[in-house]
């Protein structure tokens, strides 16, 4: 375990997690977009905190482990925003995503695969 520390009441945390699970299921049923975001994804973050902090004992762990995990998460965020333009946009100042804007079919007219399997 992460050093000597008092053990949290694991059953209480489990009950809390189950309550959060019920809320995350019922909330989106109401069909209100912002409430769906809060109850489904906001509560997922809260559940993650409780599992990480108490079941994984991150609250009692060395602080640099937090830094390690946060750094990894931030780098995933960098990846997210790095590729977002490729996925979300179909063109930019100097490029065009021909698959997304469906012009590839026209471009492909200029390419023919001959009998040898060569692209011409």
């Amino acid at each position: 375990m992460a050093g000597a520390h008092a053990h949290p009441n694991y059953v209480k945390i489990w009950v809390l997690l189950l309550v959060l699970l019920v809320v995350s299921i019922i909330g989106p049923e109401l069909g209100i977009p912002w409430l769906t975001l809060v109850t489904a994804f906001g509560i997922a973050l809260v559940k993650t905190y409780y599992v990480a902090a108490y079941f994984m004992h991150l609250n009692f762990e060395k602080k640099y482990i937090w830094s390690l995990l946060i750094m990894a998460t931030v780098l995933v965020g960098v990846f997210f925003f790095g590729v977002a333009s490729d996925i979300m946009k179909t063109d930019g100042q100097n490029w065009q995503d021909c698959i997304a804007n469906k012009t590839c079919a026209e471009q492909q007219r200029y390419f023919v695969i001959d009998g040898d399997g060569q692209l011409r």
Binding site: L21, T36, A40, K47, V51, K62, T73, V76, F80, I87
Partner: protein
């Protein structure tokens, strides 16, 4: 096997035992694996509102039940860890096998979900990884997660018998960290794939 245990049990150049540090590094790398997958899913989902219509075909009660199962198995493994620390190895052994049982139930539910989509007679309900990009993501994400569940169950089974004899009790904490991470991944996959319609 040595009663003294491996160096990773006790040596600590960083303030925490080397074995535990290794698991944290593993989990950081897992953040990139699942984080990258989830990030791509979110981007495509935002760009393809019609995916909400595909999510209707997932079974929310099955996903919710599996969330309950994994949260409960997380409780079991932390109780196993607690028992191992108190040198109550029989109790720790018992809770490890409860956790493995939880993993088994999770996989059975997944099997039910997969088979109802992959082998559906009704063409509208037939959903394979090739149906469209939503289902490619669905099977990739849930399949990769299920492989992690299987891996965790195998490791827990392997360490449980040593544990019963009092060997290497620190391994319960290490596999516990991994299992909680698998739980956290599901906590995100559930709303993304099942709830957001």
């Amino acid at each position: 096997m040595s009663m003294q245990g491996p160096l990773a049990t006790s040596r600590s150049a960083t303030g925490i035992p080397t074995g535990r540090l290794g698991v944290w590094w593993l989990l950081a790398s897992e953040i990139f694996i699942f984080g990258g997958l989830i990030a791509c899913y979110i981007l495509y989902r935002l760009n393809n509102p019609w995916w909400g219509g595909e999510a209707v075909f997932t079974k929310v009660p099955a996903g919710a039940f599996n969330t309950f199962v994994l949260l409960t198995s997380s409780l079991f493994i932390v109780l196993a860890h607690d028992a191992a620390e108190k040198k109550d190895f029989d109790r720790a052994f018992k809770f490890i096998w409860y956790t493995i049982g939880g993993g088994g139930v999770f996989l059975l539910v997944k099997y039910y979900e997969y088979s109802s989509k992959l082998f559906a007679d009704d063409p509208e309900l037939l959903k394979t990884p090739l149906t469209n990009t939503y289902w490619s993501f669905y099977y990739t994400a849930t399949g990769l997660h299920a492989l992690h569940v299987i891996g965790g169950m195998v490791i827990m089974a392997l360490i449980s018998f040593d544990l019963r004899k009092g060997f290497n009790p620190h391994r319960v904490e290490l596999i516990g960290l991994y299992w909680h991470f698998v739980d956290i991944v599901w906590i995100f996959l559930f709303p993304l794939l099942y709830i957001a319609k």
